[in-house]
């Protein structure tokens, strides 16, 4: 595998990681708030809090990793995206900032402040909507370079059906991934009332998720036919994704093998996400930046890959420890450690 392919694969894997953990987080924020206004807070709030509290900061680092790595491996993305994305990028930063800060405020500080929870819940839906527009932009035609100046064509961005279908997909899949995960978590915790509610959410959002995916699929054809053709060539991946989806929902429906069900959700998104990504190559920004022509120099590329491997050696056991303590430890999940003071 060439160095640039290693680079983009690493970045794409971490973006996928962010997609999953952040979706769980964003959706949970929304359900948390929703449960407060529908007076079901006492049933599901504990479950959500118990999982989220120890991991939210880690979620953020996945995003940081992605964009720092992007500038490292493909420095010219900084110039194109950096110049064009000042406004949407800043809006995304502000939303992320509000969300992170108010999460901490409402969890560690003023517990149960409804305003803090609203800010936290609402930003959880706005952030995926904002971030996902970068995918639209990467399809080309929206960032334009004229006389050496780079700018963003807002009317094209907001006028494209593809933009809106991606936003729609990001919203529903956040809610779907999150409720699928939380159902599994609640079931492990033997918290059946919470499980009942969360299972309902998950089943409810499964239909819209698959519909929105189809919509995106066809909208790509309009935006970037070449990308669409590449995707058709990788059709088996999207087929596999669909089968994973069906089985996952079936298992949840039947209330059996919920762990497997969530793994299938992970696979469902993995197939679709990597299929999409692979078909997108070699372009990072169509048609200006391609992984071959705009890769960093070999020396830096090699250094980054070595650093990455060294980093993984530390990172993987740490993540494993985190998961063991908070995800797979039955006593913790069931809330058996009563907190003193905190």
């Amino acid at each position: 595998m060439s160095l640039e392919l290693v680079g983009i694969t690493v970045l794409w894997i971490f973006l996928y990681g962010y997609l999953i953990v952040a979706s769980i987080d964003f959706g949970a924020g929304f359900f948390s708030y929703y449960s407060v206004i529908t007076m079901k807070k006492h049933i599901i709030h504990k479950i959500i809090e118990r999982y989220l509290s120890p991991v939210w900061e880690v979620t953020n680092v996945f995003l940081v990793f992605f964009y720092i790595g992007m500038v490292g491996f493909f420095p010219e993305t900084a110039r194109y995206y950096g110049t064009a994305l000042l406004v949407p990028g800043s809006v995304a930063i502000i939303l992320l900032a509000i969300r992170g800060a108010y999460y901490a405020f409402s969890n560690y500080g003023s517990k149960d402040n409804k305003w803090y929870m609203l800010l936290y819940g609402a930003t959880g839906l706005l952030i995926p909507a904002t971030l996902s527009t970068v995918l639209t932009i990467s399809e080309g035609g929206i960032i334009v370079e004229q006389n050496g100046m780079i700018f963003l064509d807002w009317s094209k961005l907001l006028g494209s059906p593809y933009t809106w279908s991606v936003i729609l997909l990001s919203l529903v899949s956040v809610l779907y991934i999150s409720s699928m995960f939380l159902s599994f978590y609640a079931y492990r915790a033997k918290d059946y009332p919470a499980f009942g509610i969360l299972r309902g959410y998950a089943l409810f959002w499964s239909g819209p998720t698959i519909l929105a995916s189809l919509l995106v699929f066809f909208a790509i054809n309009q935006q970037n036919p070449e990308h669409f053709r590449n995707m058709l060539n990788l059709g088996w991946m999207f087929g596999a994704s669909f089968i994973c989806f069906l089985v996952a929902v079936y298992l949840l429906w039947k209330r059996i093998k919920l762990g497997l069900s969530f793994i299938l959700v992970l696979l469902q998104f993995a197939f679709a996400f990597f299929g999409y990504g692979k078909a997108h190559l070699p372009y990072i920004l169509f048609p200006y930046i391609s992984i071959h022509e705009n890769f960093t120099n070999q020396a830096m590329g090699t250094a980054l890959v070595i650093a990455f491997i060294a980093g993984l050696v530390i990172l993987i056991p740490s993540l494993f420890l985190l998961m063991r303590l908070f995800l797979f430890d039955a006593d913790y999940v069931q809330g058996k450690f009563i907190k003193k003071g905190d």
Binding site: S53, P54, R79, Y108, L325
Partner: protein, 449 residues
């Protein structure tokens, strides 16, 4: 503003974000060290008061970390948004430490999460061990980002020709000449500042005489002692930094000292004002001191600004930042020594109120020192963004909306700051020390963990 100037606004926005981030980053680097010291003391001396200290600090720390993380995310993205051309070059030459930094963030985030939620699950000794990766992670992130900043001051490890970068040596770029002193000074000043901020909190509760004074006194002693050690270290490394500047980046030191003629036996200028034709007035001059600062002996020749082309001189107002930083450093050392003197005499039971009041001031003052230090270091690099290669004016975005974004971000930081203050003060008012001592079973021996 008569005409829109995206460079100007980009600078303002960068300054604002960095100045805000550095407050929380400093706390993020220093406080884990202090928590670790407190936990160590609690285990070594079997004194549960220190365990409570660690616990209460950790609780407040989570809030500041959250703001550190979100503002850090902001500055990380903003660097690409506001300085795209700089990041394009930096990406080629100095991406390695930036990339490594994200692993440091991962480690810190993961173990901090575990640490905060395992007070009851682990034995104190094991729980303490969890702090080691947190301390390493946060100090490593300071280390890596500071190497990037050092690179901006003394770039090396690449060749730039006709806008093309070749011959890149990532390790050489990372370990550039300015790196050792810079990293050491940044780390020690962060530890020092965190110690004094925690000391200020302890002194404040002693002044108010609320709660258990024994608890606050132990906190004060621990923090001021640590603060003194770190402050002396900071001053010593600061001295090395100045020697480094004299040798490698003379214009920065000369600007800080309003030193125009290249001479031996150069005096150190404190305070004062500069007239239109560059005469220094109303300043306190210490003979030979600048030469000593720059090279260790009065005979050292110190390069003056007149030897540097006019358009490459940094703004001269950095003099005040430098003076303020050094003055703060000296002041807190004196205060800490005063405190040690009083603490030694067991007979005088209560600390004098004036001393407590001054210690309260030392917390914010140290943070001001950090700000002054950074403004000195960054403005002193002007007009360069990459010294010798790229000027700030050539690196900025051409976007027309930076001013609006500046407003938005100012608003964001104000809101975050206000809420943080509110939440933090509520947190500590709600959890009374005395109640917690009882809840933890501290009255009557060891805590049950």
């Amino acid at each position: 503003m008569p005409i829109y100037d995206s460079v100007f606004y980009s600078r303002l926005l960068t300054e604002t974000t960095l100045a805000f981030h550095i407050i929380f980053a400093t706390i993020g680097v220093g406080v884990p060290v202090m928590i670790m010291l407190a936990e160590l003391a609690s285990i070594k001396r079997k004194d549960p008061y220190y365990a409570l200290l660690a616990r209460r600090w950790a609780r407040g720390f989570v809030i500041t970390v959250a703001i550190g993380v979100v503002t850090g995310t902001a500055i990380g993205l903003q660097l690409s948004l506001l300085w795209p051309k700089f990041m394009e070059i930096a990406g080629q030459a100095i991406a390695l430490p930036l990339f490594l930094e994200t692993f440091a963030f991962f480690i810190e985030a993961i173990f901090l999460g575990i640490y905060l939620y395992t007070w009851e699950r682990l034995k104190p000794k094991h729980h303490l061990l969890l702090l080691v990766p947190v301390v390493i992670g946060s100090s490593a992130s300071a280390f890596f980002i500071t190497t990037v900043n050092a690179f901006m001051n003394t770039p090396q490890g690449f060749t730039l020709k006709d806008g093309l970068i070749t011959n890149v040596q990532p390790i050489l770029a990372m370990f550039n000449p300015s790196m050792p002193t810079k990293v050491a000074h940044v780390l020690s000043s962060a530890y020092m500042t965190s110690a004094f901020i925690l000391a200020a909190i302890a002194a404040y509760s002693l002044l108010r005489k609320k709660g258990d004074t024994l608890y606050a006194k132990k906190a004060l002693k621990l923090t001021v002692t640590a603060g003194l050690v770190f402050a002396i270290t900071t001053a010593m490394i600061g001295d090395l930094s100045a020697k480094f500047l004299a040798h490698t980046q003379p214009e920065k030191l000369a600007a800080a000292e309003w030193h125009f003629e290249t001479t031996k036996n150069a005096p150190l200028v404190l305070g004062g004002i500069l007239t239109e034709n560059n005469e220094v007035k109303y300043a306190l001059k210490i003979p030979y001191a600048l030469s000593i600062l720059a090279g260790g002996t009065p005979g050292t020749e110190v390069k003056g600004l007149n030897d540097i082309p006019k358009d490459l001189r940094p703004p001269l107002y950095v003099h005040y930042f430098f003076d303020a930083m050094v003055a703060i450093g000296m002041f807190v050392i004196v205060v800490a020594i005063c405190h040690m003197w009083y603490a030694r005499k067991k007979s005088r039971k209560p600390y004098p109120r004036w001393l407590l009041a001054i210690i309260v001031v030392c917390g914010p003052l140290s943070m001001l020192g950090i700000q002054c230090g950074w403004f000195y270091a960054e403005v002193g690099r002007q007009p360069w963004i990459l010294r010798g290669y790229m000027k700030v004016a050539d690196a900025a975005t051409t976007s027309q909306d930076v001013d609006t974004m500046l407003l938005l971000f100012c608003l964001l930081y104000i809101v975050l700051a206000l809420t943080a203050v509110k939440v933090l003060s509520k947190l500590f008012r709600k959890n009374d020390v005395a109640d917690e001592l009882i809840a933890l079973g501290i009255f009557g021996g060891r805590t049950k963990e």
